[in-house]
């Protein structure tokens, strides 16, 4: 991920020169063995990453239904996409999902991390909070699909016990996306809290001691010290969350399948349906290219805006 910018090349990055041998000789002697060492990874990189990337971009300029050969049609897929109401709907739905996800996940996780940092540093608690993140999306989705069921789900039983009308969580157009977002907030809450917690642990104690000696209130300390020093971690969390949420698929696939009507047809679902439902691989590839460009832009803007690769701790 973009997190890597956090780790600038250290001194160890440039291997110290052994005085015993001239450098060039060592380099070339190492080259042969190095090639052997990276050969398998290289095969994977070229065959399943680089070539598919090029092929994906190429396919986006073609019409291809798996029958016969891809046929070059220039930018027609792209012009069609921009006039495609279902595409704009998919974007709107996805962005709505991303927004709900980001706000709730970040706020809840930050709160939990601060509380853990202050009163409960036990590994057991952190482990328990991490539990939902370790089971598959599919499992989490089915579990909540049952708990939020209109007729028998425990949540609706509780709602009706309180004398309120039952809610069709997955079955109504206005509730479906917030529900799916909530399910994913539940799954990632602990994981995100642990990431932020790790960032809090890295803030040196003496910074807080100085602040309390200066008589800074806890609120003041939080806004003037904790948040600025957490910035790289928060930037990382935001980038990971946004990029992850843009690619939501599993939860939608096993619960609503994109419905009701088009209420949960997120962009990845749309790509999947175009490619495997309608065998329109060219169009689906063009959609993927657009998604890729959006994600790259989002990551770039976030890193620039949050200066996520710089820290005030140095």
């Amino acid at each position: 991920m973009t997190t890597l910018t956090k780790h600038p090349p250290t001194a160890a990055h440039k291997a110290p020169q052994r005085p015993t041998r001239p450098r060039g000789v060592a380099k070339l002697r190492d080259l042969r063995i190095a090639l052997l060492f990276i050969l398998p990874a290289m095969i994977g990189l070229v065959a399943f990453c680089l070539v598919p990337t090029i092929r994906g971009v190429y396919l986006s300029f073609t019409e291809y239904s798996l029958l016969g050969e891809p046929e070059w049609i220039g930018i027609k897929n792209y012009t069609a996409i921009f006039a495609d109401e279902l595409f704009w709907n998919a974007m709107a739905v996805t962005i709505q999902y991303v927004a709900i996800n980001i706000v709730f996940q970040t706020v809840i996780a930050l709160g939990l991390a601060l509380l853990m940092h202050r009163v409960a540093k036990s590994t057991f608690i952190r482990g328990a909070l991490l539990l939902p993140f370790l089971v598959a999306n599919v499992i989490v989705a089915l579990l909540w699909f049952w708990m939020l069921d209109y007729q028998l789900g425990i949540v609706n039983e509780f709602i009706s016990w309180m004398g309120l009308p039952r809610i069709a969580f997955f079955g109504s157009e206005q509730w479906a996306i917030p529900t799916i977002a909530f399910v994913n907030v539940w799954r990632h809450m602990g994981y995100t809290a642990l990431l932020i917690f790790a960032g809090l642990q890295a803030i040196p104690h003496h910074v807080y001691e100085v602040a309390s000696l200066d008589g800074a209130s806890p609120t003041r300390t939080f806004w003037s010290i904790t948040v600025p020093l957490l910035r790289p971690v928060l930037a990382l969390v935001l980038v990971v969350t946004v990029i992850g949420s843009f690619q939501v698929f599993d939860t939608v696939a096993v619960t609503t399948g994109g419905g009701p009507v088009n209420a949960t047809r997120v962009i990845q679902m749309y790509i999947y349906q175009k490619a495997f439902g309608e065998s329109d691989f060219g169009y689906a590839s063009a959609l993927s290219v657009i998604l890729f460009v959006i994600l790259a832009l989002v990551a770039f803007i976030q890193m620039k805006f949050l200066k996520g690769n710089e820290t005030d701790l140095d």
Partner: protein, 300 residues
């Protein structure tokens, strides 16, 4: 701020009580759904409707698990509210274990080889090649999934274990990055000594580097295994056939076979438990490793 709350133990510190209360609520919200999963799986499906709120299973029965493992006749299954369609989670469990173990072992091993070359060997273009590997972390999964599907299809490997595992076998950019960080921090002395003895790189790697890196290798293997076990999108594309179907895909099939209107909830929850238990066992055994590795960097 933190030091004060930790050292001054006032008899009644409302802040601490409030903090603990919120943590307790968060724990309850996290754990209770799993208990509900178990409670549902151990209920008999027809009794769920009449008894939907009691914490204990409604009309305790192993029937749901029997259905999931294909141990009921079609008539029995239908009588208990199942779909009666043939479903065999033993097979999916085996496939998941095979898929996750093979991809994890190969991926971690090859990533370790590459990480060593990036951390310990000096060769022209090393850092440029490494940045290319890192850059691939930015590529969204769906983007390569379509062309990779076509590749596997053209190779005639749809619905085979080869097709299912190939894209994961050779490396993961995260794994290479993770292990490279560790190799960079390893002391060079033992290696240098072995060098002077004229030992070859390969021998040093297998006899010195790998044993010394046991802890990070285990952590990476654990994280990779969990990720592979939960993988859904790729197996959905290339492994829908019974013989190679993994648990995540099996679950979605089981759900879609459910009779409309009256789903087999207890069967479905029993199936999710079967799919989750191996991960829970791993987590109980090695939880500390996983918990402490979070924060090293974003893992998605």
């Amino acid at each position: 701020m933190t030091t004060q709350t930790l050292t001054t133990r006032k008899p009644l510190n409302w802040h601490r009580i409030g903090a603990w209360a919120i943590i307790a609520i968060a724990l309850a919200v996290t754990i209770l759904p799993f208990l509900w999963m178990l409670r549902t799986a151990l209920s008999s499906n027809h009794s769920l409707a009449s008894n939907s709120t009691n914490l204990l299973p409604a009309d305790f029965s192993w029937g749901a698990f029997k259905r999931v493992f294909g141990m009921q006749t079609t008539d029995e299954a239908i009588a208990e509210g199942g779909s009666g369609a043939a479903i065999d989670f033993w097979l999916y469990l085996r496939n998941s274990i095979l898929f996750s173990t093979v991809t994890t072992a190969a991926q971690v091993f090859f990533s370790a080889l590459a990480a060593y070359a990036f951390a310990r060997l000096r060769w022209p273009g090393r850092d440029k090649v490494f940045s290319v590997f890192l850059a691939t972390m930015m590529i969204p999964g769906i983007f390569t999934a379509l062309p990779n599907f076509l590749l596997i299809k053209n190779l005639g490997l749809l619905n085979t274990f080869a097709g299912l595992t190939l894209p994961f076998l050779f490396m993961s950019a995260f794994g290479i990055f993770f292990l490279r960080q560790f190799f960079l921090s390893m002391s060079r002395e033992v290696e240098e000594a072995a060098m002077l003895d004229g030992a070859k790189h390969l021998r040093i790697f297998f006899q010195i580097v790998l044993p010394n890196a046991a802890a990070p290798l285990a952590t990476l293997a654990l994280l990779t295994f969990i990720g592979q076990w939960n993988e859904y999108f790729w197996p959905l594309l290339v492994g829908n056939d019974e013989n190679v179907r993994v648990l995540t895909v099996g679950l979605s099939v089981f759900k879609s076979q459910s009779p409309q209107g009256a789903p087999d909830w207890s069967g479905l929850m029993a199936a999710t438990i079967v799919a989750a238990v191996p991960i829970l066992i791993l987590f109980l055994a090695f939880g500390k490793k996983v918990v402490n590795s979070i924060g090293f960097s974003g893992i998605k």
